[in-house]
Amino acid sequence: MPIEILMPALSPTMEEGTLSKWLKNEGDKVTSGDVIAEIETDKATMEVEAVDEGVIGKLLIAAGTEGVKVNAVIAILLQDGESASDVAAPKAAAPAAEPAKSETPAPAAAAPVAAQPKADIPSDPDIPAGTEMVSTTVREALRDAMAEEMRRDPDVFVMGEEVAEYQGAYKITQGLLQEFGPRRVVDTPITEHGFAGVGVGAAMAGLKPIVEFMTFNFAMQAIDQIINSAAKTLYMSGGQMGAPIVFRGPNGAAARVGAQHSQDYATWYSQIPGLKVVMPYTAADAKGLLKAAIRDPNPVVFLENEILYGQSFDVPKMDDFVLPIGKARIHRKGEDVTIVSFGIGMTYAIKAIAELEKEGIDVELIDLRTLRPMDLPTVIESVKKTGRLVTVEEGYPQNSIGTEIATRVMQQAFDYLDAPVLTIAGKDVPMPYAANLEKLALPNVGEVVQAVKTVCYK
């Protein structure tokens, strides 16, 4: 059967073009790859190559014709034994192939889009009565979590700058080299972009890397690998392969290290589908959630805080203490107002609550623990009870975790609100070095106290 040669689209947006020149005449023999015509679009002149072999039977559009629609028949190619007289006049209005565009379903309004499925996240495990509680620093809890998971699974290894011989820039990996050796505790060069990619590649091959960033400030060099490679591969591969990897390290402001070493990335990573984002406050949460993160088959960004590393909390002495990712924890029950915070933001909230208690304001404090998936139901439930909400975090104020929560609460619990949601965040400035200015750039307890009083109209 004669083959119809169609006016091609040469860019994603092209709808018509000018057939500027024929390079073959009727009767010419063509083979695959031969340039048969030139087409002009609004952007460029492009060559049209033959895909099939044959003899040009008819040129249907004259050279120089403007406004030739994509997919219009422009020529007829004859196969062996066919002659030009076999060619029936092409049906003018019906292109041989329907453009794919017309096959796409009608816009969203007509085609119901499946609702985002809700993940069923279990609650925290019961801690048996009589379980010994051990005062542990966040630093030790993180180390213990990694060591326990490395004992449990030989595919788990840790890599990063100074994680092995130096025992960790912040001593989080202390002792791991001695127990697991250099094969599983891998010192890297100062190469964030490169070793993040190496980690993701190893994870795609089925290993379970823990990639330590000396701080998340340096992970900006590697953020392409975290987002474009780790977070998106499962989706782009149709579920064939993903990256079971943990990116962890200190995040946010430490003390007096200035603008380039003092940024909170909570909101950056929390926006990315395909990632889980954890930001614990207590040592118990740090341990239970890091163990969960290492076991999780998805990429997890685990945001720690240098100032919290040395703080001690009770950690239950259990063989295998694992906490669910995606579940907030009610740190303190209360009736009058809800504060939602996470990570080091909790320290401001806790101090503020002590002051507010004296004034008779009973605060419910929620520690989000996980920023993605975010446990909004727990927040909504609390707001329905208290009718008032304040959020507290150290990150920049625009597009913060607090503004996200405020939006969702406004959408899902509007009728329950007795006051506008107030969001306490860091100031909208790069972190200054001077001690007095640094203090001003961060949130403070007074601001939290004032915000709570404001939403309580006190």
């Binding site: 169609l6 006016m7 091609p8 689209a9 040469l10 860019s11 994603p12 695959s32 790859g33 952007k43 460029a44 002149t45 492009m46 060559e47 049209v48 190559e49 895909v51 994509v70 997919n71 192939a97 453009p99 794919a100 565009k101 379903p105 889009v113 499946a114 993940a119 094969r183 060069p189 972009h193 490169g194 070793f195 993040a196 990619g197 190496v198 980690g199 993701v200 590649g201 190893a202 994870a203 795609m204 091959a205 290993l207 392409d224 690998q225 474009n228 490679s229 591969t233 499962l234 989706y235 782009m236 591969s237 149709g238 064939q240 392969m241 993903g242 589908p273 395909g274 088959p297 998805n298």
Partner: protein
């Protein structure tokens, strides 16, 4: 194409040990009839597949970006002929040829190009993002250079597990200027990771010629600062590619660490479908096509040696055309993914 005067390894010149192996990149593998027929068929499959993909793009069945591999077929086919089961392959977005060479089905690849449900990624990846765990093909990556670090990670996993698989990471002369490539070179050399870095030098990074983009245009020397040996290979001759691949894979499998193969090759088409390729002359393209075409070289050899007749080769051509036509039919008739797929495969 005439390879530039075959470069020897720069590390060799400075190396203390005189016994170090020399890589010239100028060896030519002796192919028997079966190998030449196989190379012919595999390269032709890629060529015809890509021509069809170009056509379907023109008809609006394939959207977005579509980067064709036409002209470079000998590189991936020669490499694949030397690899063993278990060796991993990773590349950037000019990836259809690599997928077909690893044995992925034409139907699944073409249906992914048209964004249909039986595409390798169920229509959610597209031309630039396709994977096959079964065939050890790790993508299909849209960010220039990212696959080099990822491929190094695949090699890290091989070393970690102590198996003898080798990671084969492809990238172009454009990607060769990305920073993470050198971060990866350093780690791969430091840890002696089993990886073959293939620089497919097709002379143009999109529209920028190598002469305008690089201070050192001999890419096989790009690892010399890390002691990584390299060789320039005539990437238009599948036998030269195979010979270099044999050497390189043996180097990696024997625990000597990474190696670089600079494949001197050429793409006939534009960078993507919407590139008019005004940065080079028609004569340049035509000269490559008529004098160095990788498929024509094999064809001429098969005929000359009396290993195949024109009719034999026509039969192969028909076979290949049938596979491609079938894949195109399939890719146009296969339904789009179910709307429920929007929210699947985000997290496990």
């Amino acid at each position: 194409m005439a390879p530039r005067k075959s470069a020897s390894v720069s590390s060799r010149k400075t190396a203390a040990k005189p016994a170090k192996k020399e890589f010239t990149g100028s060896n030519i593998a002796e192919f028997d009839r079966d190998q030449d027929m196989k190379a012919y068929r595999e390269m032709l499959l890629i060529r015809r597949f890509e021509e069809k993909a170009g056509q379907l793009y023109g008809m609006g069945f394939i959207g977005g970006f579509c980067h064709l591999y036409i002209g470079q077929e000998a590189v991936v086919v020669g490499m694949q002929m030397a690899q063993k089961e278990g060796d991993q392959v990773i590349t950037a977005y000019r990836d259809h040829g690599h997928m077909l060479a690893t044995g992925m089905e034409a139907r699944g690849v073409m249906a992914e190009l048209t964004g249909r449900r039986n595409g390798y990624s169920h229509g959610k990846g597209g031309s630039m993002h396709m994977f096959s765990k079964e065939k050890h093909f790790y993508g299909g990556h849209g960010i220039v250079g990212a696959q080099v670090s990822l491929g190094t990670g695949l090699a890290f996993a091989n070393a970690y597990r102590g198996n003898d698989s080798v990671s084969v990471a492809y990238f172009g002369d454009g990607a060769a200027n990305q920073g993470q490539v050198y971060e990866s070179f350093n780690m791969a050399a430091l840890w002696k990771l089993p990886i073959v870095y293939i620089i497919e030098n097709n002379r143009y990074a999109m529209g920028t010629s190598t002469a305008r983009a690089t201070a050192q245009s001999n890419y096989s020397l790009r690892g010399s600062g890390f002691g990584i040996p390299g060789m320039q290979v005539d990437g238009m001759d599948v036998r030269a590619v195979k010979a270099a691949a044999d050497e390189a894979l043996e180097h990696c499998r024997s625990g000597k660490g990474p190696i670089i193969l600079e494949m001197l090759t050429y793409r006939y088409r534009g960078h993507s479908m919407s590139d008019p390729a005004k940065y080079r002359s028609k004569d340049e393209v035509q000269k490559m096509r008529s004098e160095h075409d990788p498929i024509e070289q094999v064809k001429a050899r098969l005929i000359e040696k009396g290993w195949a007749t024109e009719d034999d080769l026509k039969a192969v051509d028909k076979d290949v055309r049938d596979i491609v036509a079938d894949s195109a039919d399939f890719a146009q008739s296969d339904p789009e993914p179910d709307v429920s797929e929007l929210y699947t495969d985000i997290l496990l």
